[in-house]
C-alpha cells in the first residue's frame, strides 16, 4: 500500500503544475477584427477588444489595434500593449474587413482552427468597410461591442434558423463541393451598429454584398431556412399600391436538375410556402377565396420575377450560395463533375423558379 501511495505521489508530483490562468489577470479577447493595413499592403491590422475592470470596479472594455505580418505575430504585439495576459479562449466574434475578405479568409481562419483554445462556434461576420471601425465604435450605454455583435448574429441565426454563421458552418460550406458560404455584414451608421445584408463568397473570397432585402429573398431559396418574413407591395387594382406582410413556412423546397444534354444544364427551383398574413393595408376582404387566390397569385408572380433577377445577379457574380452546384453534382457522374468548370457552367446555365404562395390564415382579423 505504501509503495502504491509513493508511486502515485511521484506520478502526480513529477507532472508539474499547469500554467495558471486566473481570470482576473487575463485579458479575455471577446472580439477580434482583421483588416488590411492602410500603410503597408502586406501587413495585417488586428483589432482586439476585451473586457476590463476599471479602477472604480466598473465593467468596461479596452480596444487595441496593432499591425503585423500574420495574426499570431500581431498577437505578440498585442501582448506588449496590455498589462494583462492575453487569452483567446473567450473569442465570440471574429470580424473581417471587406478588402481583406476579398483576398480570401482561409489564411486568417487557419489560426482559429488550429488553436485548441478557440472553439468552432466562434461567430464570423464582415465589417463594412473595415472591421476596426466596428470594434472601436463606442456605443453609448451598450457595453461590449462583442456582446452586441454576438447577440445580433445569434438573433439573425435564430430568425432564419439552421444557418449558423460560425467557423464550423463557414468551413463546411466552403469545403462542400457546389456550395458557397455567406456571412452577415455590419456597418457603422449614425454612431450605431447596423446589419447590412450578407456578403457573398466564391470559395473563401468575398465577391460582393447583397442588401438586406435581397438577402431575405436569398434565404427563401436556401433549403435550411424554412422560416421567414416577407414584405410585398401588391397592386390589386390599377394604381393602388398596398402592403402585405407574410410570416411564412417553407412547405416544399425542391431543386431539380435536368442534365440530359451534356452542355445544356437546366435547374428548376420548386418552392411552396405557406404564410400567415400579418399585415395588409388594403380594404379587400382576404377571407374571400377569390380575392385570396388573386393575392396569392400576385405575390407568387412578384416573388418569381424578383427571384429570377436575383439568380441572374448571382450567376453573373459566379457565386452559388443556394447550393445549386450540389444538385448538379448529384445528377452526374463524379468524373464529369470533376471535369466540369462549374462556375463557368453556372454562369451560363438556365435556372427557373416556381414559387407557390398559399395563405394558411389571414391573421386574427375576423
Amino acid at each position: 500500500m505504501k509503495k502504491t501511495i509513493i508511486v502515485f505521489c511521484i506520478l502526480l508530483m513529477t507532472t508539474g503544475c499547469a500554467q495558471k490562468r486566473i481570470i482576473d489577470d487575463l485579458a479575455l479577447i471577446n472580439a477580434i477584427g482583421y483588416d488590411l493595413s492602410e500603410e503597408n499592403e502586406e501587413n495585417l491590422k488586428v483589432t482586439a477588444t476585451f473586457p476590463i475592470i476599471t479602477k472604480d470596479g466598473k465593467y468596461d472594455r479596452k480596444t487595441i489595434i496593432v499591425e503585423g505580418k500574420s495574426s499570431k505575430s500581431a498577437r505578440e504585439k498585442l501582448k506588449h500593449k496590455t498589462n494583462m495576459q492575453l487569452e483567446s479562449g473567450q473569442i465570440r466574434v471574429s470580424l473581417f474587413g471587406t478588402e481583406l475578405a476579398k483576398q480570401g479568409l482561409l489564411t486568417q481562419l487557419d489560426t482559429f482552427v488550429r488553436d485548441p483554445n478557440i472553439g468552432s462556434r466562434v461567430l464570423l461576420a464582415l465589417g463594412k468597410p473595415v472591421a476596426s471601425d466596428i470594434l472601436t465604435l463606442q456605443i453609448e450605454n451598450e457595453g461590449q461591442n462583442a456582446t452586441f455583435l454576438e447577440q445580433a448574429i445569434t438573433k439573425l441565426h435564430s430568425e432564419s434558423k439552421t444557418i449558423n454563421y460560425d467557423i464550423f458552418q463557414f468551413l463546411r460550406d466552403l469545403y462542400d463541393d457546389g456550395m458557397d458560404p455567406i456571412l452577415p455584414a455590419y456597418k457603422v451608421e449614425d454612431n450605431d451598429l447596423k446589419y447590412d445584408g450578407v456578403g457573398l463568397f466564391q470559395g473563401d473570397r468575398l465577391i460582393d454584398y447583397l442588401n438586406p432585402e435581397d438577402s431575405k429573398l436569398l434565404f427563401l431559396f436556401r433549403k435550411e431556412i424554412i422560416h421567414g418574413d416577407l414584405e410585398q407591395e401588391i397592386e390589386l387594382e390599377e394604381g393602388k399600391v398596398q402592403q402585405i406582410m407574410l410570416s411564412y413556412v417553407q412547405t416544399k423546397h425542391h431543386i431539380d436538375v435536368n442534365s440530359v444534354a451534356m452542355d445544356n444544364l437546366v435547374a428548376t427551383i420548386d418552392l411552396e410556402i405557406q404564410g400567415d398574413v400579418l399585415e395588409f393595408t388594403g380594404e379587400e376582404d382576404l377571407s374571400d377565396p377569390n380575392i385570396q387566390m388573386k393575392v396569392e397569385k400576385l405575390i407568387s408572380d412578384q416573388l418569381k420575377s424578383k427571384g429570377n433577377k436575383l439568380l441572374l445577379q448571382l450567376q453573373k457574380m459566379q457565386v452559388d450560395p443556394i447550393g445549386i452546384g450540389q444538385h448538379v453534382r448529384n445528377h452526374m457522374k463524379y468524373m464529369r463533375w470533376k471535369k466540369l468548370n462549374w462556375y463557368e457552367e453556372y454562369q451560363n446555365m438556365e435556372i427557373n423558379v416556381n414559387i407557390t404562395v398559399k395563405f394558411s390564415s389571414n391573421g386574427k382579423w375576423k
Binding site: 481570470i23 470596479g57 479562449g89
Partner: protein, 488 residues
C-alpha cells in the same frame, strides 16, 4: 489489492482468536486466585474491591448479623424500603429460614457480587454468603422525538440511553419469536452490554459469528457510544467514510432488521448500529417510505445531485477561475470579473478561506446552546454574506457557490456521511487548485475506487452498483414502488 485485503482479514481473525485465548487464560488465572481466596471471607474481599468508594452505602443489622451494600442512586428506594421493613422485626432464625426459601440468588463469585452491586442490586451479606436483591432503579430519560434524524411522515420516537427501553422499542415492533438477541460484553474492566439483534433466516450465521468475535475481542474500556463502538469493529478504520449505519430511530432499526441486517445495541447509548450496509443506505430517510414512490424517487435523485454539488461545486469554481476560463459563459463573465477583480488572493486560497469560515461557523453553531447559536447565525450571515465581499476578501459568486455546497451537504440524510463528504470536499478544492479539472476527475476516480474497495462485514460498500445487480437499482438509487403480495 484483493490479495492484500484477504491477508488483512486473516490477520484480523488471527488477532481475534489470540484475544480470545488470552481472555480465557485470564479467566482461569482469575479463578485460581479466587479459589485461593475462598478461605478468606467474601465480605472482606468485597470491601477491598470498593475501597475509597465512599458513595457505596452500607446498612447493618447487628442483631441479624447482616450487612447490606448498595449504591443509593442505582436502586429503587421504595422497593428497598419494603424489603427492609420485612427484615426489621424478625429474629435471626426466622430470617435464615426466610432467606433459604426466598427467590434471592446466592452469588458465589466475588466478581459477580461486584457486577451485581454495580448494576443496581443490593448485596446482602449473611453469614458470609452474598445474596443478590434486585432493586434496580429504572430511571432513564423519557422517550422523546429524534433530534438528529427528523422525519415528517413516520414514527417520532427515538432510542434513549437505557438498553432495556431500547430493546422494548424494538420488540414492540417485531412481534415474532424469530427476532433473536445475543448478549455480549465489551471491555475488560468496566464491561458493557451489547445486544446483537437479528431475524432468524434472514441473516447468515457466519456474519453473526464474525461480528460476535469482533465485538467480544474488544478489550478497550470507555466505549461510551455506539458510534465509538463501530469504529472499533469496522474493517477500514482509516477511511473517511462511515461503514456502519448508526441510527437513533427504532423504526429505521426495525426496517433494517427486516432488510436482513444485524442490529447492535450498546448499553447507555441512544444509537443502534446496522450492518452490513452499503453507501446507499446512508442516502435513505424514513420519509422516503411514507411518500409516494415517484416523489421519493425524485428526492433520492436530488440527494445524489446534492452529493455531487457538495463534492465538486467549489472545486469547479476554483478550477474554472484558475485554469479553464474558456468554460465561463459570456453572460456570467462580467459579474465574475467584477467580483474577482477586487480579490487579492488566488481562487484556491479564497475558496479554502471561505470554506474554512463556514466550517467554523457550523462547528460553533453545533456546540453552542440554541439561543446563542442564533447569534452565530446572524453574525455569520452578515460577515460572510456581505462584509467579506465588501472588504474584497471573497467574490460574490464564490459565496453563492460555497453556500450552495453547504446547503447541499445538509441534504444528505445521514449526519455521519454528510460530515465525511464535507471533509473530502476540501481535498477536492486543493486538488482543483493544483491540477484544475483534471485534478477533479482524478479525485473523483480516487474516491470511487476507494468506495468500491470498502467492505462492511465482507459485503461490498457500493453493493448494487459494484458488483452490479441491476434489479436492485430501482430500490437503492430510486425508491421503487412496493410490491404487493397477493393472496392465493
Amino acid at each position: 489489492m484483493r490479495n492484500h485485503r484477504n491477508r488483512y482479514f486473516k490477520e484480523l481473525e488471527k488477532q481475534i482468536e489470540k484475544n480470545e485465548t488470552t481472555s480465557s487464560h485470564e479467566k482461569t488465572a482469575r479463578n485460581a486466585i479466587q479459589n485461593k481466596q475462598d478461605k478468606k471471607s467474601n465480605i472482606s474481599e468485597f470491601q477491598s474491591f470498593f475501597q475509597n468508594c465512599s458513595d457505596l452505602s452500607c446498612t447493618e443489622f447487628p442483631h441479624l448479623d447482616i450487612k447490606i451494600y448498595y449504591f443509593p442512586y442505582l436502586i429503587d428506594k421504595t422497593i428497598y424500603d419494603q424489603h427492609l421493613s420485612e427484615i426489621r422485626n424478625v429474629t435471626k432464625e426466622e430470617f435464615e429460614a426466610y432467606l433459604n426459601q426466598s427467590e434471592f440468588p446466592v452469588l458465589q463469585d466475588v466478581i459477580n457480587v461486584e457486577e451485581a452491586v454495580l448494576s443496581g442490586s443490593c448485596i446482602l451479606f449473611f453469614q458470609d454468603i452474598a445474596y443478590d436483591i434486585p432493586v434496580k432503579n429504572g430511571e432513564t430519560r423519557s422517550i422523546s422525538p429524534s433530534e438528529t434524524e427528523t422525519v415528517i411522515l413516520g414514527a417520532h420516537d427515538a432510542f434513549v440511553e437505557s438498553i432495556d427501553v431500547n430493546l422494548s422499542l424494538i420488540r414492540r415492533r417485531v412481534l415474532s419469536s424469530k427476532l433473536k438477541a445475543i448478549k455480549l460484553y465489551v471491555g475488560s474492566q468496566a464491561k458493557k452490554v451489547v445486544y446483537l439483534l437479528y431475524l432468524e433466516d434472514l441473516v447468515s450465521e457466519t456474519d453473526i459469528d464474525h461480528l460476535k468475535k469482533r465485538i467480544s475481542s474488544i478489550k478497550n474500556d470507555g466505549i461510551v457510544d455506539t458510534n465509538m463502538l463501530v469504529q472499533y469493529i469496522d474493517e477500514h478504520p482509516n477511511s473517511p467514510f462511515p461503514q456502519f449505519y448508526t441510527t437513533e430511530r427504532p423504526d429505521v432499526t426495525v426496517y433494517k432488521l427486516f432488510d436482513g441486517k444485524i442490529v447492535g445495541l450498546l448499553d447507555d447509548s441512544p444509537f443502534a448500529f446496522c450492518t452490513p450496509v452499503s453507501f446507499f443506505d446512508f442516502m435513505e430517510s424514513m420519509d422516503d417510505f411514507g411518500q409516494r414512490w415517484v416523489v421519493s424517487s425524485f428526492i433520492r435523485i436530488l440527494r445524489y445531485i446534492a452529493i455531487m454539488i457538495t463534492l465538486v461545486f467549489t472545486a469547479l469554481y476554483v478550477s474554472v477561475t484558475t485554469y479553464h476560463y474558456e468554460m465561463i459563459p459570456q453572460a456570467l463573465l462580467p459579474t465574475l470579473l467584477e467580483s474577482r477583480s477586487r480579490v487579492p488572493f488566488p481562487p484556491v486560497i479564497e475558496a479554502l478561506f471561505l470554506e474554512l469560515l463556514l466550517e467554523l461557523l457550523r462547528e460553533a453553531g453545533a456546540r453552542l446552546p440554541t439561543k446563542v447559536g442564533q447569534t452565530i447565525g446572524i453574525v455569520g450571515g452578515i460577515v460572510i454574506g456581505q462584509a467579506a465581499v465588501e472588504a474584497g476578501i471573497t467574490s460574490n459568486i464564490l459565496i453563492i457557490v460555497v453556500a450552495a455546497s453547504a446547503i447541499a451537504s445538509f441534504v444528505i440524510p445521514s449526519y455521519l456521511m454528510s460530515a465525511s463528504i464535507r471533509i473530502v470536499r476540501f481535498s477536492f478544492i486543493i486538488i482543483a487548485g493544483f491540477w484544475g479539472n483534471i485534478g477533479i476527475v482524478f479525485g473523483m476516480g480516487i474516491v470511487i475506487i476507494h468506495l468500491s474497495g470498502l467492505t462492511n462485514l465482507n459485503s461490498p460498500y457500493l453493493l448494487p452498483i459494484s458488483p452490479m445487480y441491476p434489479k436492485f437499482l430501482k430500490y437503492t438509487l430510486l425508491r421503487g414502488p412496493f410490491k404487493k403480495k397477493l393472496k392465493g
